[in-house]
Each structure stands twice: as structure tokens, then as C-alpha cells.
Symmetry: C2
Subunit: 340 residues, 2 copies
DNA sequence: AACGTTTCCGGTAACGATCTCGGAAATTAA
DNA sequence: TTAATTTCCGAGATCGTTACCGGAAACGTT
């Protein structure tokens, strides 16, 4: 029973040959005797040898590992992305070092430091809600580490990005609300510095203006820490003299909170007030009433981001590209039917 | 603009001192002049130096990295565990290499191979549904790699484990059904080789017998690939001459499927048929009717497993321990009220 | 003044794998 | 038989870091 793990040196000693030969045999190189090669492979299997990727990495300066930072993997949207990333990575023999920022800028910095120290070959990051300064990302670029941002991206850095058509998705949602006779449409927004929240706001405003409706500032409410604020924000909207007849929400959790509050106020959904969310969380199809929402292809987003990154690592593509995935309005029961 | 990253050698060259001194200075060792140390630290910051953990790992034979394998991180129960693991690990400066088996035995083997090659300091594994043979886990032990199993554990290996009180949780659930006047209680089970499914069956049978009810084999139905089978199994139960008046389900997704089918049959929940799930998925509180379920502390399970593993890695505890976390019956609206 | 101590620093050998180089043995060609 | 070539293998350097060892100053002690 040895202490550490088996090395090529152990194999070499057992067979009384040099480690160079063992290395060549294991890597399947040409200039090694067929018989020697067979003996090496057999011995490797017998000793249960596994190559030491740490040593390989040090030598080759490549770790075959990519790093991910997401805000919180407990959010289904992110776990779905992480799943997509991991599957693609594993298919091309890349490992995945996984971190969570917990929506904290400081933790994001720490995560990044750890991943850089681990010499990941590339990075996939979805920014924390607190992150405004992207100095740390620029430092990543200075080190020539390939970087792909997804979902929570930043416009202040020139790198590859994957996002969804937020503006267009919001536009489609709000247009649908207008088409189903809603006129006072509120927007339950996210934090003011969150890019995706702002892009969805653009779509919201655009749809209103396109229909000749003047946006009412009273109807745009921001909420920060999702659940708690969302309930308060909804209550605030319902207490207006001139109540909204529809609610467009920055994401599904907010929409679900809104539904609970509206139910408590004994208002009918969608007759009194229509609701549309964003994301298509699995919960949304199961709640009562089932939530109409703008679906984002989360799994595909992860796969796409991973592919972009790996292409960059392998040097297939040096340019930074932004891929925008399509969103789709999924009609359920929190919205009225379109009149034919 | 250099090619690779900055090394202590670069710092040494710039300051015209030896790499040994730089190393000592960076590690804050005693025998280095205060002024020299200051200059080294300043230069390190100026050059944006990050220690190469790969080299450190090779030298020290420790990677400060643990590996996780879960079946599917998109399942909330697992993402919650993974989140708990990652938080604990990060707090003690451990990295997390993340893999998914996708419920495939072969993929689990591949994952394990990759993690061993990466020389993780320890492993956290929740077995795939396909896994029956645990030879691969024994090989891990032969290599003296600390291993902790969680949730999907196996009785055939002596190692640290974290699970929940499955049997007791099932017992409490079924007892509650009996206490609320249910008599023909069906069990919608998982695959036959799944330990947790069998343990829950034990609790189910125990509760029945304790109440003097003879278990009816007709009322125990197994389903494999979760969603599709669950619907079929439920339909099968509803087509019996002597229908069940309650359904105990191996997990929440199965219960939720069952609810949909039962609704379609125009049966009233819980008046005609009561339902209890297992896990307490976040969805369960939001669906209509809200699902009564046996809650498992998933986040805590992750944290506990990570702590056990890290204690083992650091050599605080060499013995293999099994921690069983408590389950809690969460009463909602798919069950009748208890008569006082 | 001669000695021991302390302070600080550099050389060198590892960790495990790979790659380059060169050389010995075996084979072929002349 | 000798020369040329092929086949196969080993020595050594290297990746970035740390640990061990030893040495040169600078200091204090008698």
C-alpha cells in the first residue's frame, strides 16, 4: 500500500525501463517497441495508474479547466446555464471549476482571484448584482485569459458575450398586453444598475410609445433584493389612485410574488390585472394561474457560452463576438386572450 | 506585454534578488529583511502577480480542490446541495471541481476519472440512478482519497455519508395520512435499485403495519424516468377497481405529476385523494393545491457533507461517519386536516 | 582580537510529466 | 564485411514553486 498515487516512475521501476519510455508508451508515440508498449499499458492498468494532470498542466501551461462564476446556482435559470456549460465542457474533456458570487462584488473578486491562481484556461462569468466596476475583468484580459460574459453582461468591456434579446422580449410582452386591451401597464424593474433590467425597460418604453401611450413614471418601480421588495413594490402599485391594469415584471420570481399579493387583494387575474414575467422558470407553468412569461433559453445559453469560450481557448476564433439568443413569449393564464 | 503570466522569477529578476528570497517574502516567512519584503510585495502588486497554484499543488501534493459529482444540477434539490458545498469550501479556500453524471453510470465513471486525474483532495458524490456497482468507489479508497457520499448513498461501502431520515420521514408522512382517515394508501416509488426509494418504502410499510393495515402490492408502483412514468403510474392507480384514497410519492416531481393527472380525472384533492411528496422543492409551495411534503434540508446537507470531507482531508477525523439529517413533514393543502 | 550568534540570502533539489537530443543496438544496403 | 540507416531507448532540461542547506555579512561577547 503506497502513500501517494502511482506515477510513471513507479511503472518505470517495476519494468526496469526509463520514465521517458513509459511516457512515450502511455502517450502512444511511434518510437517505442510494440512489446514494451504493451507491457507498459498492462502495468499501468495493474497499478491503477491515472496521469497526474497537475504535472501535465505545469508542463504544458494548459489546465484543460474553465472557471465559472454565477451569482447563485440555486436559481434555476443559473443552474440550467451551469448544467449546459458543464455538459459542453465535459464533452471536449474540459473540467469546470465552479464558484458563486452570492451577488456580492467582493466575493466575485475573491472567486476570480482563486480561478486565476488555479490557472484556468478560460472564464465564464455572470456578474453579481452589486458589480458596477469591471476593473477586475480588464485585469483578466491583460493576462490574456479568454473571457466570456453571459446574461449579466457589461457594456464597458470588449469581450465575447452571450445574452438574450431582452429589449425585444420585453417589447413583445408589453405589446401583447396592449393588444389585449391593457393601457396602464406597470414595470416592476430590478436594481437600477442591472443591465438586463434596463434593457427590458427599453423594450417596455418602446412598446408603449409605439402604441401612443405616454409612459407614467409612477408605474415604474424598482426592487432590489428580489422577494421582499417585490411584494412591497406590488402593494405600492395597487395603492395608486389610478391602478395599473397590467404588470410586466423583470423576472419570474418577482412576478410570482406579485401574483400572491394581487390574490390577497382579491383582484382577478387576468381580468382585473394581467401579468407577464421573464425567464420561464419551471415554477411558472405550475403555479395557479400559470404565468405568461418571456422564455429565455437558459440551457442553450450555457452551451453557447461554453462553445464560444472553448473556441477562443483553442484559438479557433480570436475576435470577441456577442451572441444574442432569441426570447419567446409563452402565453399562459395570467394574460387575456387575443381577440381574433 | 508578456506571453504567460508573471512568476516569482520575474519578480526576482526585476529586483535583482533570488527567487528563494521572493518566495520567502511572499509567503511572509521570518528570515527576510523588512525592506526587501516590502519591495517584493510592491513589485508583486505592480506586476499583478498571482501565485501559480498548479506549481504549488505539484510541489505540495495538495490541490486545495474538492470534486463533486451530482446527477443533475438542474434539479433544485441538487443545486441547493451544490450551493451549500461551494459556500463551505470557499470559506476555507477550497476550490470546487463540478461534474454531472446525468444519471448515467458511464458518465459517472468518466467524471471520476477526470477528478482523480485532477488530483482533487477529496470527493463528494451522489450516485447516479443507474449505479449499482460501486467498484469505482472502492478504487477511490485504495488511492486514499477522502470520499463522502450524500443523498444517493450506497450501503456497500464503508465511507462517510450524509443522508436524511428517509425511513422516518416516510413513516411520519404515511402516519399522517392514516391519522386523517386514509386507508388505501399507495406508494409511487422510484427505481427498484434506488436506496432512498427503498428506505422510504420501509417507512411506508412500517406505518401501515403499525396501524394494522395490510400492505397491498397493487398499491406499490415503481417509476423510472421521472416525469413520463409518474403520469402513467398514477393513471394506473386510478384505474383500479378499488382506488387509493391517498398517494405517498417518492419525491415532489412525481407528486406534482400525480396532481396533474388527478386533476384531469376530476378528483378532488384532498377530499377524494390525499397526496404527500418528498423533498420540499420550492415549486411545491406555489402549485395549486400547495403540496404537503416531507422537507429535506438540502442546503444543510451540502454544508454538512463538505464539512465532513474537509475535516477528513485535513486529517482531523479519520473515521468514516454517517450523518443523518432530520426530515420534517410540511403540511399544506394536498392533505386533510387532523381532527382534534 | 578572536570567537560565537544572528540575520539575511542564494544555490540546489525536488514534485510528475514531456520533449529534445543523442546514442546504442538492430537492421538493411553496399 | 563495412557503412548506412532505422528502431528503440535513456539522460537531462524544463514548467513554477517550496524546502533544505549552507554561506556571507553584521552583530555582540569575552
Amino acid at each position: 500500500m503506497e502513500k501517494g498515487q502511482v506515477t510513471i516512475r513507479d511503472i518505470a521501476l517495476k519494468l526496469n525501463i526509463s520514465i521517458s519510455t513509459v511516457s512515450r508508451a502511455l502517450r502512444g508515440m511511434a518510437d517505442v517497441n510494440a512489446d514494451t508498449k504493451k507491457r507498459v499499458l498492462e502495468m499501468a492498468r495493474e497499478l491503477n495508474y491515472e496521469p497526474n494532470q497537475i504535472a501535465q498542466s505545469l508542463r504544458s501551461n494548459r489546465t484543460n479547466t474553465i472557471g465559472i462564476i454565477v451569482p447563485d446556482v440555486q436559481v434555476h435559470f443559473f443552474s440550467s446555464i451551469v448544467s449546459g456549460i458543464q455538459k459542453v465542457a465535459s464533452k471536449v474533456n474540459y473540467n469546470v471549476l465552479f464558484c458563486q458570487s452570492g451577488e456580492s462584488y467582493q466575493t466575485e473578486l475573491n472567486n476570480l482571484k482563486a480561478l486565476i491562481a488555479s490557472r484556468v484556461d478560460g472564464l465564464l462569468i455572470s456578474l453579481s448584482r452589486e458589480t458596477e466596476d469591471i476593473e477586475h475583468l480588464l485585469r483578466v484580459q491583460q493576462k490574456n485569459i479568454p473571457l466570456v460574459l453571459f446574461d449579466r453582461i457589461s457594456d464597458d468591456i470588449d469581450t465575447s458575450k452571450v445574452d438574450v434579446s431582452d429589449t425585444d422580449g420585453a417589447f413583445k410582452a408589453v405589446k401583447y398586453l396592449i393588444d389585449t386591451e391593457c393601457r396602464r401597464i406597470a414595470y416592476l424593474a430590478g436594481p437600477k444598475n442591472l443591465t438586463i433590467s434596463n434593457k427590458r425597460m427599453e423594450g417596455y418604453l418602446h412598446a408603449l410609445r409605439a402604441a401612443g401611450i405616454t409612459p407614467d413614471e409612477e408605474l415604474i418601480v424598482h426592487c432590489n433584493s428580489l422577494k421582499e421588495d417585490a411584494a412591497g413594490a406590488t402593494a405600492q402599485l395597487l395603492s395608486l389612485n389610478n391602478k395599473p391594469d397590467a404588470l410586466f415584471c423583470v423576472n419570474d420570481p418577482v412576478a410570482i410574488q406579485a401574483i400572491q399579493v394581487i390574490k390577497k387583494h382579491n383582484l382577478k387575474i387576468p381580468e382585473d390585472i394581467s401579468i407577464i414575467g421573464f425567464t420561464d422558470d419551471p415554477v411558472s407553468a405550475l403555479i395557479e394561474p400559470a404565468l405568461t412569461t418571456v422564455a429565455q433559453p437558459s440551457h442553450e445559453m450555457g452551451q453557447c457560452a461554453a462553445k464560444l469560450l472553448i473556441d477562443q481557448i483553442k484559438g479557433y476564433d480570436g475576435t470577441s463576438r456577442t451572441v444574442t439568443l432569441d426570447t419567446k413569449l409563452v402565453l399562459r393564464n395570467t394574460t387575456k386572450l387575443l381577440n381574433p
